[in-house]
Each structure stands twice: as C-alpha cells, then as structure tokens.
Symmetry: C2
C-alpha cells in the first residue's frame, strides 16, 4: 500500500491517457477533478488486489459516453458520488474500496476522486488495461462477473438502478439512458467481492499509468525524446510518424466513430497510414494493410511532447507518433478475442499481435 498524493496526479492522468488508446477521457479534465477531490479529502491509499479481503466489496466507478460529448459536458463531480452512493445503498452494505473499470485520462482519475471523497482506498487495477467503447468489454465479463446491479446518474439529478440478465443487456440499456441523459453519464457498476476481483481484473494499472506518465515527463525535463521515453517504460512499438491529413468523425450521441489519415514523415516518409476508431482507436492500417488492431493498444501522441491525443482532439496538421502496445494476455485468449477482437468490431481480418512487431528485447 502507498498513497496517491496531489503530486502524483499529473503522471497518472498523462500515462492513463496514453494507455486509454485514444479514449477514456481527457487527461486535463481528469487531473483537475482528482486534484479538487484530493485537496478536500486528503491522499488516497492505493492497495494491491491481494490486499482486498475475500468478502470485501469493491465498487468501480466511471464516466460513460462519447468522448466528444464528455469534453463538452464536464462532470460536476457530484453525480459520480451520487451513482456510487445509490449503488452502495441498493447493495445494503459498506463498500470497502473503489476501483477503475477502464484506464483513461478521465476514467482513471474519477475513481481517485470518489475514493478521496468517501475516504476509501483505491485498488491498483482496472477491468480493461486500456479503454474500450462498450461496458461489457471488461475482463471480469470473461470470468462471469455481472455488470449489475449498476447505478447511472446525470448532472440534472436523474438516476437509475439496473439489473440485467447479462452484460450485453447492461450496455444496451445503459447506452440508451446515456444518450437520453445528454450523451454522458456517471456510472457505478460491476460490484465485486475480493475473491471475484482477484482473478478477473487487470492488475497494477494505476501504477503502470503513473510509470508511463513519469517516463514521458522525465524525458521532457531532460530534453530526451519523450516518445522514446514512453517506449522505454513499457513494451511497445513505434508504428508510424506522420502529419494528420484528414479526420472524419461522427457522433451519434452514443459513440464517436471515424478515421484519421496520416502522411508519413521521418522514417515513415512516403507511406500512408490510417487509424479507425469507435471512441477508442480500433485498427491501424499502413498502405491498407492492418499493422495493429484491438485488443492491442493504439495510441496517438504529439510527436514532440508525447502528449496523448484522444480521438476527439485529433485535427488536421498535428504531427504525431503512433505507438502500439500489447494488450493484457486475458484479451488475447479465444474468449477475450471474441469479446473485443477485430471481428467483434466488424473487421474481417483476424487478430495479429502487435507484440510480433516489438524489438526482441521488448517481447514478453
């Protein structure tokens, strides 16, 4: 166990946005929210999954919605406490720790804010090891953990509790409510006991996010290449360096879908590159051929600063580095690929691990 202090938030939000694979919310907004909560509630204890008792109840919290909306419709900070409180009251027992369900600039810091507000520890884990667009797309689904009972709240004061027959139904009903609620809502879901949590989550995500953020920040301070700094802190491959030529993006209230086209620069000169996304980056194509795809992480970073560029911030003219990072091994199992592999998102090609592109030293 260690504490998350105010000084840690910068690195956590930055690293989480890299690991959010284009989604998971804006790191600047996420940092501000957690800063306010830590100032009011003091530091948050970060505990390992092994420190959670078998019968201890853990409740993950998150923001749900299209990132384009989440940037415009900032959370008040209150409604997520309301969602947490409603679920705790419905369960009729005390929650012992808070958790993140996805890694991302906002969805890694919102749970810190709730933990600070409630005076509870945060589990150093999450349910994806990245961000995904739909709420059934978490490793606990692979282990039979139910998303419900789930609470969902908006900033106006509307709230609902859901009990569904499976996690796809939770996604379906909660997605409609999120659209009705204006495109973004706060949720508390996947209540888990320690014994359910331990085998099913992705461990160490908050620490990994902080490590990634720290590596980028140190490289910036020491005037080294921050993208190289990032790739020194976790296994990953530089897929492309380029300038954004074109972004097409549609938000239908539920999701933002689109693609970005890049023209190569530096070592990538003369090649064209495209990334397709649904909230998060799904596939990267070079010369029309897939070079990386879900469940592996595809992250777009500012070429000079390695600042992660979430899908709603992509715009013409930005010079970016695209990196590929291997997914948690739970995702590359047959069941994992069935839930979040390329075919699940409508692509006709099979998963090809980005791990194969890594330099030998970086392969696990």
């Amino acid at each position: 166990m260690r504490n998350i202090e105010l000084a840690d938030l910068e690195d956590i939000a930055l690293g989480a946005a890299v690991l959010g694979a284009g989604g998971g919310g804006d790191p600047y907004v996420g940092k501000l929210m957690a800063q306010a909560a830590l100032r009011a509630g003091g530091p948050v204890a970060l505990i390992g999954a092994d420190e959670v008792g078998d019968e201890d109840l853990v409740v993950p919290v998150a923001m749900m919605g299209a990132p384009t909306v989440m940037v415009e419709k900032l959370p008040s900070g209150f409604e997520v406490m309301q969602a947490f409180g409603a679920l705790q009251a419905y369960l009729g027992r005390s929650v012992r720790a808070v958790m993140s369900m996805e890694i991302g600039g906002l969805n890694s810091t919102i749970p810190i804010a709730v933990a600070a507000h409630e005076g509870l520890p945060l589990v150093d884990a999450d349910g994806m090891g990245r961000a995904f667009p739909e709420l059934q797309m978490v490793t606990p689904t692979l282990h039979g953990v139910k998303a419900t009972p789930m609470a969902i709240c908006d900033e106006k004061g509307n709230a609902a509790l859901l009990e569904t027959i499976d996690n796809h139904w939770t996604e379906r009903l909660a997605r409609s409510m999120t659209v009705d609620m204006g495109g973004a809502a706060m949720i508390a879901l996947y209540p888990m006991l320690g014994k359910q949590l331990r085998p099913s989550v992705v461990r160490g995500s908050i620490s990994l996010a902080q490590q990634v953020g720290r590596a980028i920040r140190s490289a910036r301070v020491e005037r080294r290449d921050p993208v190289a700094g990032l790739l020194g802190a976790c296994p990953g491959a530089l897929l492309f360096e380029g300038k954004i030529q074109d972004v097409s993006r549609q938000t239908d209230g539920a999701f933002v879908r689109g693609r970005v086209r890049l023209e190569g620069i530096h070592a990538s000169r003369g090649r064209d590159f495209q990334i397709e996304f649904q909230n998060e980056n799904l596939v990267a194509l070079c010369g029309g051929e897939p070079v990386a795809c879900v469940p592996d992480l595809i992250s777009t970073l500012d070429l000079e600063t390695a600042e992660p560029i979430t899908t709603e911030r992509l715009r013409y003219g930005l010079r970016v580095a695209v990196v590929g990072l291997p997914a948690d091994p739970q995702w590359t199992s047959p069941a994992g690929l069935e839930l979040v592999g390329p075919e699940r998102f409508g692509y006709r090609f099979p998963y090809r691990p980005v791990r194969e592109l890594l330099p030998a030293s970086g392969r696990a």
Copy 2:
C-alpha cells in the same frame, strides 16, 4: 367495498377497452390474464379511494409500449409481479393496495391480476379516466405526484429502478428502455399515499368500466343496439357511422402513430371522417373540421356489436360507430389541457368540448 369475481372480468375488460379511447391494450388478452390470476388467487376486494388510509401506500402497475407490439408480445404474467415486487422492496415498506394508472382493456385488468397474486385490494380509480400514450399524462402529475421511484421489467428478466427530476424525464428514460426491451415492458410507478391519491386520481373508473361493459353486453343479449346501450350507460355522443376506407399506421418501437379514414353510412352517408392517433385516438375530423379531440375520449366500436376496436386492430372494411365521451373535469382545466390538450400533440386548434355535442339530457 365489494369483490371483483371471475364473472365480472368480461364486463370490466370490455368497458375498459371502450374507455381506453383506442389504446390501453387488447381486452381479450387482458381478460385472460386476470382470469388466470383470479383462479389462482381468489377474488379481489375493490375499495373506494376514501377507504385508503392517509398513510397507506398504493402502487399502480401497467404495461408500457406501443399497442401494436403489446398484441404480439404477450406478457408472461410474471414480469409485472417482478416490477411490483422490485418497487415494493426499493420503497422498503408494505404496499396496501394496487391501482390502475390508465383505463384500457389490458391496463385495467393487469392491476386486478397483481392484486389477486399479492392478496391486496384494488382501488376503484385510475390516473387518467381513459388511456394516454405517455406516462406523465396522468392527473396525479397535475397535483405534483412524482412518477418515481418507478420499476420497469421485461419478460427476459431485465429490470430497472428509476428516480427522475420530473415526470417528463421518467417518460423519456422509461420510453427508451421500453424500446430496448422490445417495445413493451411492465411497470410499477407513481407510488402514492392515500392522502396524495384521494385528490389526484380519477375515481370510480373500474366500476364505470364494468357498467359500460354490462350495458353493451345486456343490449347484445336483449338484441337492442349495443352502441345505443353504451350511450345510455354513460354521457357520450355518436359522432359518426362509417366504413373504414384506409388505415395508415407506423410503429417506431416507441409509439404507433397513424390515421384512419371513414366513409359515412346510415345518417353519416355522404360525409367523410378521419381519426388521427398516437397509440390512442387523438382527434376526429369531419370534412376536415375537428369534431372531437383530446382530452375527450374518441372510441371506435364495431357497428353491430359495439366491440371496441383498438388502434392496432383497425383495418379496411370494418363498419364502425365512433363515439365521443367527455374527459374527466381535471383534464379540461388550463393545467390539464396544457398536459394533454390538442396543442400538446402538435395540433393548432384549441380544445372544443365534445360535451357541447351531447343531447341536452346527457350534459353534466
């Protein structure tokens, strides 16, 4: 207080379908459901609104959805008990009586089934004195009664509890869930104490439905005109007699909307007539001029038998009588007309009471 016995169901379902103004569900399905419940649970006590104690909790139940779907997707009879039970558990106190929120072939009999199953009395009242397409369109809304907490369940086992800031938000969120659930869902809502219920509901609706049904049935047995029999049992005017020439109807999952065109026969010969509906009949036009409109009741009956024809059963060639019945006086107040008057449904003409068309003897 008196009992509702098996033998009463035929008249209640028939009369309720007349008062359902084209909606409120199919009387045949409604009768079967209540019959099964009365056989299993025995007769149901019917109590007046004045017999409910000030602090007694009453919970109305209903089916929500487009009638076209409700006819195809029959309730199992179980999910409405689940909705009732979920709301009772959430409220954390015993419910003392069940109630209907709208009068209709199904929505007047579902509460009888729940009352029989739970061994509770049924209040002789409802929240509309007819059927309306949206759930905030009830007289308790005029008195500040909240629709939530509300439970909603489908036949698959999905369920939700809603808490909203106003009854329009309840409609919006519950409508989306109903669409997701396949176009029809079972709901328990508007939990009320006796002291809230008494000033805000439409009293005597179940008895009135039974009286209307009995009048039609007696006329049939005695070979008198059943439409005249109906108009002898409650104030109302014969608006038109005609043959259906054309029905246009669209179901978008949430509502069925459309219009029916009639060609006059008998005394109506030479005139044309049109009814527009959203689940329920909204306006009746003769020669393009409105002759009856919401909140007054417009009901289409088989010309020979006075069997009510709900909007999903309208079809080419049927010979029908169209009757207009005055709405409960709560609906013709300025606040009532604002909630359910013709302008609320997008019409540009003001409410004109069908009461003005009644023979002098029938005017209140």
